[in-house]
Amino acid sequence: MDGVHDLGGLDGFGPVEHKTVEPLFDEDWERRTFRFMVGSLGPLGGNGGMFRHSIERMDPAHYLSSPYYEHWLTGVTTLAVEAGAASVEELERRAGGHFPLSRPDRGVLPGDLTSRTTPRYAVGDRVRVREWHPSGHTRAPRYVQGKCGTIVRIDPAANVSDIEAHGGGFVADPLYSVRFTSRELWGDGGADGETVHVDLFERYLQEA
């Protein structure tokens, strides 16, 4: 989905608030949330794609205004409610106040559920990223959809997140690292001597 999580290239966020050293968890609730995700996602029937999409479905204002581990808390709790393991009413009673969750899943399971493992493209091939802006989970960032690049590496075929996230199970697809020039991505606003590499499933790509 073209959600607020898909941040590549957006302006307006200001300088990076960089620290050289920081504790693994600043506060105990962050550690508890990390533990909650690690221990609950599998037993709730979730997977990596579902987890990421549960965060992508957060209200955009909530996503941008909350600390990182609150994303995990909101997303995995949403999955627990959707799996019938908890109810909003019970959670709000125990928490003593409003417990915001993510919005309902508007994603649609992709139609092509064929597993493929033999790569169609070779290193050096020019490809264009399909432009389809799905309403569900995808690992094709908005900033490369429709853009042309060059295959620079062929990775082992892997599980397509777009399918796993919407209940389609494990479907493999060849996977590539694709190099884009800054000028291709950002036009006159780009720069020479800068390239961006994005790892993309074969089903995201077409011949340039």
């Binding site: 221990g39 949403t78 106040g97 790892d199």
Partner: protein
């Protein structure tokens, strides 16, 4: 229902929210706190940039290891004992006088846990994720790392399976250092690519 801005109740503090969902799932037998706590302790005690630093120091001192690291990062890193979730498929990208590499995850927070641990806050925050792919040279300069105009910047967006580790250039004047001493000068930021040593 879920994102209801007109909800009558006040927002519960985040501490109360994690306590609520944790207690529900523990009561239902879905979440086993003690078992998972061991995993969290493993992250706290054993994972972190000190692991990646050992990989870099080995590559600086052992040419054959460096070759293996660049051709099959996962296997070479596992030789030193580092593997596991978010490190199952590792790609190591090498800085040279002509090329500087920078790692980001624009969609979420993908990061090589076995070699660097859990990512720092700024790596997961919108400013870094949005700008690293748009204006990396400017961003790095702002962060105190000036990459000369003649040096190509290659940004790696960890959008699928690969997790990236930058192999920094070995600084001049380190010829007399042992492998262990070299590991001591390798920083987390140099292995993400936001710093040159």
């Amino acid at each position: 229902m879920s994102a209801d801005h007109h909800h009558p109740q006040e927002l519960a503090p985040v501490e109360a929210r994690i306590a609520a969902i944790e207690s529900v799932l523990v009561e239902k037998g879905i979440l086993d706190i003690d078992a998972v706590d061991e995993i969290v302790k493993h992250f706290e005690d054993n994972l972190g940039p000190m692991n990646g630093a050992k990989v870099v120091a080995r590559a600086w001192t052992d040419a054959a290891y460096r070759e293996r690291l660049l051709s099959d990062g996962t296997a070479a890193i596992k030789e030193l004992g580092f593997s596991g979730p978010e490190g199952d498929y590792m790609v190591v990208v090498e800085n040279t006088p002509q090329v500087h590499n920078l790692v980001v995850c624009t969609l979420c927070s993908c990061y090589p846990w076995p070699t660097l641990g859990l990512p720092p806050k700024w790596y997961k925050a919108p400013a870094y994720r949005s700008r690293a792919v748009r204006e990396p040279r400017k961003l790095l300069a702002e962060m105190g790392t000036v990459i000369p105009d003649g040096v190509e910047i290659r940004v790696w967006d960890s959008s699928a399976e690969a997790r990236y580790l930058v192999l920094p250039m070995r600084p001049d004047g380190t010829n007399t250092l042992t492998e262990e001493q070299l590991a001591g000068i390798v920083t987390r930021d140099s292995m993400i690519g936001v710093q040159r040593l």
